[in-house]
């Protein structure tokens, strides 16, 4: 029957399109961008109770250590904590409050682990599907570029000058609106490992260079070619060149 032909073709195409990992990578990355905010809010809730027990502790340690200290409650040998507890101003919690604090601290630590797992999953998908791109841009930046552009196919159609400025959209629009000559020179690539500790001029040059290589890497990934060795040599050459 005629319908069977349509059905077959549609099912085949659905499978092909759903095997494209872009939407999954993007969705996972969006969650990892949002979760820290929720974690911070829960941390605020925790501190409503624990602030009086450990005044100023949040300035000494990060969220994770803070939560771990809360889990151990009094049984700790961390010197700073002991100092605070023994200062005479620290409030003692009732049994019920202790349970509450433990539960909340546990949940926060759980969410932090979960967020890392989600990020790992996104990075794994990205590296497996787009090895060249992740190699040149760094998986973190590659994922962020995917989020901004919406898909690998859109990225593959961008000229390298656009890739260079991905993540700088706000600054770019501002410079256009105000007619300023100070157009941005790098967006996400500002945080690329090769740009760290470089002076301004170098940063501009390197980000242009990297954007070009990223454009090549993206096209290679779409064609399913592994160019990592060649790209690595190119990049090393450039770095050594700029050092001289």
């Amino acid at each position: 029957m005629e319908k069977e032909l349509f059905l077959e073709k549609t099912v085949e195409e659905i499978k092909r399109e759903l095997s494209n990992p872009d939407q999954r990578i993007i969705a996972l990355c969006r969650i990892t961008e949002k979760l820290p905010k929720n974690i911070n809010e829960l941390f605020e809730a925790l501190r409503v109770v624990t602030d009086t027990v450990y005044p100023t502790l949040e300035k000494e340690v990060g969220i994770e250590d803070y939560c771990r200290i809360c889990l151990a409650l009094q049984e700790t040998n961390n010197e700073k904590v002991l100092q605070i507890i023994n200062s005479g101003v620290s409030v003692k919690l009732e049994k019920r409050e202790k349970e509450f604090v433990k539960g909340l601290a546990e949940s926060i630590l759980g969410l932090i682990t979960l967020n890392k797992d989600i990020e790992k999953e996104a990075y794994h998908l990205a590296e497996k599907s787009y090895p060249n791109f992740c190699f040149v841009a760094g998986t973190n930046i590659a994922c962020k570029m995917l989020v901004i552009s919406g898909s690998m196919s859109r990225l593959s159609q961008m000229p390298s000058s656009t890739i260079q400025l991905l993540g700088a959209e706000k600054a770019l629009f501002k410079s256009i609106r105000t007619g300023s000559k100070k157009t941005p020179r790098y967006g996400l690539l500002f945080n690329h490992s090769l740009l760290i500790n470089k002076d301004k001029k170098e940063k501009g040059r390197l980000s242009r260079f990297l954007a070009g290589k990223i454009a090549i890497a993206i096209k290679a990934d779409i064609s399913g070619i592994d160019m990592r060795d060649e790209l690595k040599k190119n990049i090393e050459k450039k770095i050594n060149g700029t050092l001289n």
Partner: protein, 202 residues
């Protein structure tokens, strides 16, 4: 226009289910076509036995009612660009013999080989795209003969910095080049920023 699979009672609309022939309530808050009927649309050009090309079928909510309207002798080609929606539409098409799934871009239907030579009685379009009139014109040229009909759900907010009224007038003028417009219906309060247009190729 009359369709014997459409029932109106106490201001509510029902269709007779394709398979069971039982009444199914049609929700105007979920379906723009039903919103048009609820607001008094006179010309519903979908008859029993019709073939329909439905552009932007999504998961198939409205399409399932169109499937009831055309009945077992009719056929509804549901076109959508999203594989996630189409996954659900395929499941629906397994329950409804007259639904045919097409995962494709409505801008490029002329490249869909299986649809080559197909003519339909009605095009329903609800794609929420900037070039909505262009999409309709293109597809009408290929799939719709004279005296046949289209039902277009026109989004009136996709183009920035113009009032809904200006957009409607402008898009209507574009439509009138190729089509005769039979009726226009606003969809408030069921659906904001949309208008339903029924017409025919010139």
């Amino acid at each position: 226009m009359y369709n014997k699979n459409l029932v109106r009672e106490n201001g509510k609309f029902y269709t007779l289910d394709l398979n069971s022939k039982e009444r199914r309530l049609w929700d105007p808050y979920r379906s723009k076509l039903c919103a048009g009927l609820a607001n008094g649309l006179q010309s519903l050009p979908i008859k029993e036995g019709d073939s329909v090309l439905y552009l932007g079928c999504a998961e198939g909510y409205t399409c399932s009612f169109v499937s009831d309207l055309v009945g077992v002798q009719g056929i509804v080609y549901g076109v959508d660009i999203s594989p996630y929606s189409m996954q659900k539409f395929v499941l629906l098409s397994k329950e409804r013999a007259n639904l045919v799934p097409v995962l494709w871009d409505a801008n490029k239907l002329d490249k869909y080989e299986l649809l080559e030579g197909v003519k339909v009685d009605v095009i329903v379009q609800d794609v929420a795209q900037k070039n909505q009139v262009e999409i309709l014109t293109k597809n009408a040229r290929q799939f719709l003969e004279k005296n046949k009909h289209f039902i277009l759900s026109l989004k009136t907010s996709s183009i920035a910095q113009k009032s809904a009224k200006e957009i409607i007038e402008e898009e209507t003028r574009k439509l009138e080049k190729d089509f005769e417009i039979l009726e226009r219906k606003r969809l408030e309060p069921f659906e904001k920023k949309h208008i339903l247009i029924v017409g025919s190729p010139r």
